[in-house]
């Protein structure tokens, strides 16, 4: 039989997604622990996730700075001793500040946990934010900021967030002077209120031995106490800007950064799963309409995409790209055309079925190892949703109609109502 090279082989759709559910336990101090026990390698990832405190306009960097400086010294360990211990045991310690939560992450071989866990315990309970380390942090952040402010895409992102989210954690973009507001005293108060068991969710993933659980409860249950004053994690109401168009001219620019979009809905909203499908059609994969038109047809850019951000108190749908400075206006026109097309014409079934299969493959592929299963859980847990969310998501991918997507395009993809930011030439 001759080989049929012109015909694609038969393929199968993906029927089911198997998600590992965590084993849940609550420590006596109120800290919630979720365990994902799976995997062949003798290692674990442990995350301590804390809700950010209420945004203070007069001291806007507190959440970020407190998190960043957790590794910089405690009552018993200097910054140097902390990193020596972690590095010596081949472990990795990260602190990450996010819009809604801040976290500490430890990657450690199981056999070294009795050396590495006490360090984490110490930084979460005993951090002192030494003045010298704070000075170093501020000095280096200011230098990094100077470099970032030369990058058009970063400037565009800052302006966009500010317009959409106003004076909140989400809209904040620090300037050089903003760092003047930081001081140790505020940081210590902030630390004490935020980093306590009742504001903490622990997620443990990997090969979890009974010994691992013992080590965790020894360090983070009986000996870790709440301060008595509950963490205030409420946030101010978002007031978006009235102005919708922002152009920052850079006369020497070879490329212009474009970022545009508008408020959308977060994961808790019934529109969200279908909106993800629509976003994928628009700019969420290599074959998307924006890529096909603006990169693969016109060659205006190296890349263009759209995305959604789902936050606790807000959400956005946005398009971002960097295009040749001389074709910036043309690129904006093409984006407008693509948005209008989704509002005015139904997505053909052939394209929609491709996107359905792509999203299912993508979901399956995103479950690479036990850490990915834990990440899937975080998505729903912090949005206050259960695993039935993924059933709805899968069902939406498989069944959402072109009519429904057109309806959503009319609701969320209005070019005229978008915030539009251009940095470069226009």
């Amino acid at each position: 039989m001759t080989l049929q090279r012109k015909t694609a082989p038969e393929f199968k759709g993906i029927e089911n997604i198997h998600l590992i559910h965590p084993e849940r336990r609550e420590l006596t101090n109120g800290c919630k622990v979720f365990c994902f026990n799976s995997g062949d390698q003798e290692l674990v990832r442990i995350e301590w996730i804390f809700g950010n405190l209420r945004f203070k306009p007069e001291s806007p960097l507190l959440n970020m700075a407190v998190n960043s400086l957790l590794t910089e010294g405690t009552h018993s360990l200097t910054s140097a001793q902390i990193s020596d211990k972690i590095d010596f045991y081949g472990a990795f310690l990260q602190v990450d500040y996010g819009h809604d939560n801040s976290q500490v992450t430890l990657y450690s071989l199981t056999k070294h946990l009795h050396h590495t866990l006490p360090v984490i315990k110490d930084i979460i309970t005993n951090s002192i934010f030494p003045q010298k380390e704070l000075d170093t942090f501020i000095r280096n952040q200011r230098q990094k900021l100077q470099v970032s402010l030369q990058k058009n895409d970063i400037i565009a992102r800052r302006i966009f967030s500010k317009a959409l989210y106003g004076d909140t954690l989400y809209g904040l973009s620090a300037d050089i002077e903003t760092y003047d507001t930081l001081n140790r005293e505020d940081m210590q108060v902030h630390f004490a209120q935020m980093y306590q068991p009742s504001n903490c969710t622990m997620i443990v993933a990997g090969k979890i031995e009974p010994e691992t659980l013992n080590l965790i409860s020894d360090a983070f249950d009986k000996e870790w106490h709440n301060t008595g004053q509950a963490a205030d994690t409420g946030q101010p109401v978002i007031i978006p800007a009235a102005e919708h168009f922002y152009f920052t001219e850079k006369p020497d620019a070879l490329q212009s950064a474009i970022r545009m979009g508008g408020a959308a809905v977060n994961r808790t909203h019934p529109d969200f799963p279908a909106l993800q499908v629509l976003n994928t059609v628009l700019g969420g994969y290599f074959g998307s309409r924006l890529m096909a038109n603006i990169r693969e047809e016109k060659g205006y850019t190296y890349g263009i995409g759209s995305g959604m951000s789902s936050l606790k108190h807000g959400a956005a749908l946005f398009i971002a790209t960097e295009v040749g400075a001389d074709v910036c206006k043309l690129a904006v026109d093409e984006i407008e055309k693509e948005l209008n097309l989704l509002q005015n014409e139904l997505i053909p079934e052939d394209e929609l079925s491709l996107v359905r299969n792509f999203l299912m493959g993508s979901l399956l592929g995103s479950l690479e190892n036990v850490f990915s299963h834990a990440d899937k859980f975080k998505n729903i847990h912090f949005a206050g949703l259960g695993y039935d969310y993924y059933d709805r998501y899968v069902n939406t991918i498989k069944t959402v109609s072109a009519d429904r997507l057109q309806e959503l395009a009319r609701k969320y993809l209005n070019f005229d109502q978008f915030y539009k930011v251009i940095v470069g030439k226009y």
């Binding site: 590794t71 280096n140 470099v147 990058k151 290599f286 074959g287 960097e322 792509f358």
Partner: protein
């Protein structure tokens, strides 16, 4: 330990199968033994431009991406100075689609003029976005020719200049394909939820009929040892000064490579590393400072890079880096410090076993260098490095007359 099976088709295609049933996915990774170092000096950037054209349709299949996305797959590729690597991840039940797509573009491309025209434009935008329209983006375009006088590593994968990309013709594309894209010049790794027997059959079916083509025999001008101190100062629209000191170092397969990597870890891996501890924290000289290696197949570069604080002169910044270098040359690294970086190598290896695509890429790359099983012997080679090796290599490598220093000065506003 990454287990695998290996076989070679009659046309010379080397195939490696890594069975991993912890995932419902499969990966198909094809590495072609061609990179920017194989380019004509007057036609640089071509290997990378060619990589873009590999997505512009093949002889029997007009669109590469569309059918793959339709079966739930994703793909990408990258070009380096040494290799060009293409990979697909998809649900394992649809693995045959990956064989169909990859074998057709190894058989022949469509060579469409339209695709060439668009991808030229796309690559030019990529050149601007990554190298020209970014602060410090052009560093490698300037530093490479300072370090390499003979070897084609003197140009970056994106190419020397926009014009080389603008001038690319369809005849050049065809000739490049004929020279480099055939079974003899490729290594394929299939990993994930697959069985070796099934992969053998699919490989025979789809890749077996492809003509062997000609074997490409690489014969590049090698870079002579350096015996002169080199220096370049440029001024540009950047907010801060930036210092680069590059040293020639051994090739990837050289025993000294493992020693050099541990030296770079001692200097620059993690917050306990020397450069960060001494030059960012204790003596505030830099806002950031790093040491790293290019890890190239031929003679590589060992690079120090740092942005001095605003009140620090370039001379003081350079001297501070040299002081740390002197320490390596005169004092044995403490046992504990060596153990620390070796422990980190060991744990990193274990963590990397959790990532299927990384495993597949590593197997392909080691097979190209001689034997995929080298991947499983890597940790041992790092653990065999001694304090004596470190002091010896430091003295051999970190010589003034083996250094190329590039200073990027911030243009001061008038």
């Amino acid at each position: 330990m990454v287990k695998f099976n290996r076989f070679t088709l009659d046309n010379g295609l080397r195939v490696i199968v890594h069975e991993d049933d912890t995932t419902p996915m499969a990966v198909l990774n094809i590495l072609y033994d061609v990179g920017a170092r194989d380019e004509d000096p007057d036609q640089t950037g071509f290997a990378h431009l060619f990589e873009h054209l590999m997505f512009g349709g093949s002889v029997n299949i007009p669109s590469y991406d569309e059918p793959l996305q339709r079966v739930g797959g994703e793909n990408n590729a990258f070009t380096s100075n040494d290799i060009t690597n293409y990979y697909i991840t998809l649900p394992s039940s649809n693995i045959e689609t990956a064989f169909w797509l990859e074998s057709d573009r190894m058989l022949s491309l469509a060579f469409s003029e339209k695709s060439l025209e668009v991808q030229r434009a796309v690559v030019i935008e990529e050149f601007k976005q990554r190298y020209l329209n970014q602060p410090y983006g052009d560093v490698w375009l300037k530093l490479r020719p300072l370090v390499y006088k003979k070897h084609p590593y003197q140009w970056a994968t994106i190419g020397k200049e926009l014009k080389h990309i603008e001038d690319a013709k369809i005849e050049d594309v065809k000739a490049f394909f004929k020279k480099h894209y055939n079974p003899q010049n490729a290594v394929m790794v299939v990993g994930g939820d697959v069985k070796t027997e099934e992969i053998k059959q699919l490989a025979e079916k789809w890749f077996g009929p492809i003509p062997a083509g000609e074997k490409y025999h690489r014969n590049l001008p090698q870079e002579p040892d350096q015996h002169d101190e080199r220096r370049l100062t440029v001024t540009g629209k950047v907010p801060l000064d930036d210092v680069y000191i590059a040293f020639q170092m051994g090739a990837r397969l050289d025993e000294s490579y493992y020693v050099a990597e541990l030296i770079s870890d001692i200097l620059s891996r993690g917050n306990s590393s020397r450069l960060y501890r001494k030059l960012v924290k204790e003596k505030p000289i830099f806002s950031e400072v790093h040491a790293y290696m290019t890890g190239s197949m031929d003679k590589g570069m060992f690079v120090f890079e740092g942005k001095p604080l605003e009140n620090i002169s370039i001379e003081i910044a350079e001297a501070a880096i040299w002081e740390e270098i002197e320490r390596l040359k005169t004092e044995l690294v403490p046992e504990d410090e060596l153990t620390k970086v070796q422990n980190k190598i060991e744990s990193t290896m274990i963590f990397s076993e959790m990532a299927l695509l990384d495993k597949a890429m590593n197997l392909a790359s080691f097979e190209l260098m001689g034997n995929a099983d080298m991947l499983n012997r890597e940790t041992k080679r790092y653990l065999a490095v001694t304090r004596q090796h470190i002091i010896e290599l430091s003295n051999q490598m970190f010589r003034k007359d083996n250094s190329s220093t590039m200073i990027y000065l911030a243009e001061k506003a008038v």
